[in-house]
């Protein structure tokens, strides 16, 4: 880019600078700088409080590589993503198909399924910790009715992770559903009219017209869900505390505990950078997929 030649151009550039300044100052100080500072901290043995810090090079990364809890947390997070993302996407799609279209009842149903996403994570975990409680939970009468002992879902090695998944589905299905609804409303009605003339059945229409038309949204929902669910923190932090026996310990939770419970912010920064690299990997995969779609 050449430097501005005329006074008018120079004035325009100056105006642009003034318009950009508030954002750029905040962005530089509160995002770009912390990012590099985090990288710098990850090369230190650095304690949260006090002044102890010592340059240790890549030692934190070597420790990370050999840390079984870190790998456990990565594995748990991936398992959670695998359990949540496909079921969330499918549920969102089914609900969108069911409540798509005109009518008062459908409008109300749309609101109901979307509503739970405006609750904050601590309200959602409060509700579901109660629902799943083995002493006085919502399901306890049901267990009693069958003459069974109520299961302590959140303290159970088998059920803790599915319990977090169900909680997350209830909390988060609204947004992907709304994305699907938006995509459905953009399918040209002529396509359906043509299918009707051909006496195409419901399932044929779904697989031949609806799903191919919303393919891009499907991809978008999957990417958003993978990125979003990978960052899970509040649900395990508040509902299971990562237990039982680290079965539901997630990556962000481990970063939080390492920095704010154990005060090892250098080590935690190395983990945070590893998280960034993982997310970058997802983003690259998304770009690669998107490019293939266009070709």
């Amino acid at each position: 880019m050449a430097t501005p030649r005329t006074p008018a151009r120079r004035k325009e550039a100056l105006t642009a600078l003034l318009f950009l300044a508030p954002f750029l100052v905040a962005y530089g100080i509160l995002l770009v700088y912390p990012f590099f500072k985090g990288l710098w901290m990850s090369l230190h043995d650095w304690e949260l409080a006090g002044n102890f810090r010592e340059f240790v090079g890549v030692l934190n990364y070597e420790d990370l590589w050999a840390d079984p809890i870190f790998w456990k947390a990565v594995g748990n997070t991936l398992l959670f993503v695998v359990m949540t993302v496909p079921s969330m996407t499918l549920l969102a799609l089914l609900l969108a198909l069911a409540v798509n279209g005109r009518g008062r009842l459908k409008g109300i149903l749309r609101s109901i399924f979307f509503m739970s996403s405006v609750f904050s994570v601590s309200v959602v975990t409060l509700i579901w910790s109660m629902v799943l409680n083995a002493d006085n939970g919502l399901l306890v009468p049901l267990f009693r009715w069958f003459g069974a002992t109520p299961i302590n879902f959140l303290g159970n090695a088998t059920f803790a992770m599915p319990a977090l998944t169900v909680t997350t589905l209830w909390w988060g299905v609204g947004l992907p559903m709304a994305l699907f609804l938006a995509a459905l409303s953009q399918i040209p009605p002529e396509l359906y009219e043509a299918a009707e003339l051909d006496h195409a059945g419901r399932l044929t229409t779904l697989f031949r017209i609806t799903l191919p038309s919303i393919r891009n949204t499907l991809l978008l929902v999957l990417v958003l869900q993978i990125v979003g669910q990978f960052q899970i923190f509040g649900q395990p932090h508040l509902m299971t505390q990562g237990g039982p026996a680290n079965r539901t310990k997630m990556l962000v939770q481990y970063i939080y505990e390492t920095s704010f419970r154990d005060w090892q912010v250098g080590y935690a920064s190395a983990m945070a950078f590893a998280l960034f690299l993982l997310m970058l990997g997802f983003a690259m995969a998304q770009l690669w997929l998107g490019r293939r779609e266009d070709a």
Partner: protein
């Protein structure tokens, strides 16, 4: 004739699906209903049994005690201040930057835009530790400033506003430019009024994000009198034995959710439309 019976069968199937969905929606609401009902029962009754969806014996004591405690109303106030100020700042900062990227010519524009968009790749969890250290250094934890400012530099807001301003026809500004109106006038008098839909969407999503923000307030607001409702309710969950004061806990959750529920009910049209707008990208 065959076509007609197919049509009738189709309508019947439609009705069955709608009925099943409605049933599922009731199931979906059941946990919320149950929590609301519990918040309206005396704590002593809840010690005995939490079952049932009828608030009998009925009491408003849980809510009255909540008001006397002052903690929850104070957390609510913090959340409101943080969400309102954050939303206002994000709207101002993003729309100004978006206007520059969409309409003004300046050197290194493309490079700068790419640098800003690169910020989309940085998850907040990978910068919250250095941010915490920085704000500790400034001695600003447990302030509204600390809760708000790190959330103002959001690349997604700049991206949305840039995209929106680009979609506005240039002719509208050219008329003003002939009249020698300044850039600021064009921005304030022409561009912003045309951007109300985009600003509404960005504002609503920022507000909901601010209200529900958890990880950052959890590490920054460590004093109970500076909690936001989201952090406050989390602390109640970790500290309360669930068997005592259950009704009060439930009343806190219901009370703390009222503002965001109200916002949702008023603006739900815009929220869903906003999702549609962003999906169009």
């Amino acid at each position: 004739m065959a076509a007609m019976s197919t049509g009738r069968r189709r309508r019947t199937t439609d009705l069955v699906i709608l009925g099943l969905t409605a049933g599922f929606a009731l199931l979906w609401l059941l946990p919320i209903l149950w929590v609301v009902v519990m918040s309206l029962k005396p704590n002593a009754e809840l010690m005995r049994s939490t079952a049932g969806f009828v608030p009998l014996p009925f009491t408003l004591d849980n809510y009255i005690n909540l008001m006397k405690m002052e903690t929850v109303p104070r957390w609510l106030l913090h959340s409101l201040v943080v969400a309102v100020v954050m939303t206002a700042l994000v709207l101002v900062v993003s729309s100004m930057a978006g206007y520059a990227f969409a309409r003004l010519r300046f050197p290194f524009k493309k490079t700068l835009f790419l640098l800003v968009m690169a910020g989309l790749m940085v998850p907040e969890q990978s910068i919250f530790i250095p941010l915490h250290t920085m704000i500790s250094g400034w001695g600003l934890h447990n302030t509204h400033f600390a809760l708000i400012m790190p959330r103002v530099a959001v690349p997604i807001g700049v991206f949305l506003m840039t995209q929106f301003f680009r979609s506005i026809p240039k002719e509208l500004e050219e008329a003003a430019e002939i009249d020698h109106a300044s850039r600021l006038t064009v921005f304030l008098k022409i561009m912003l009024p045309l951007s109300v839909p985009a600003l509404t969407t960005l504002g609503l999503f920022t507000f909901i994000f601010a209200w529900n923000d958890f990880l950052w307030p959890l590490v920054s607001a460590t004093r109970a009198d500076m909690y936001t409702v989201t952090v406050g309710l989390a602390s109640i969950q970790s500290n309360f034995a669930f068997s005592e004061g259950l009704g009060s806990v439930m009343a806190s959750a219901v009370f703390a959710s009222l503002p965001i529920m109200l916002l949702f009910l008023i603006f739900q049209r815009f929220i869903v439309a906003g999702v549609a707008m962003n999906a169009g990208k």
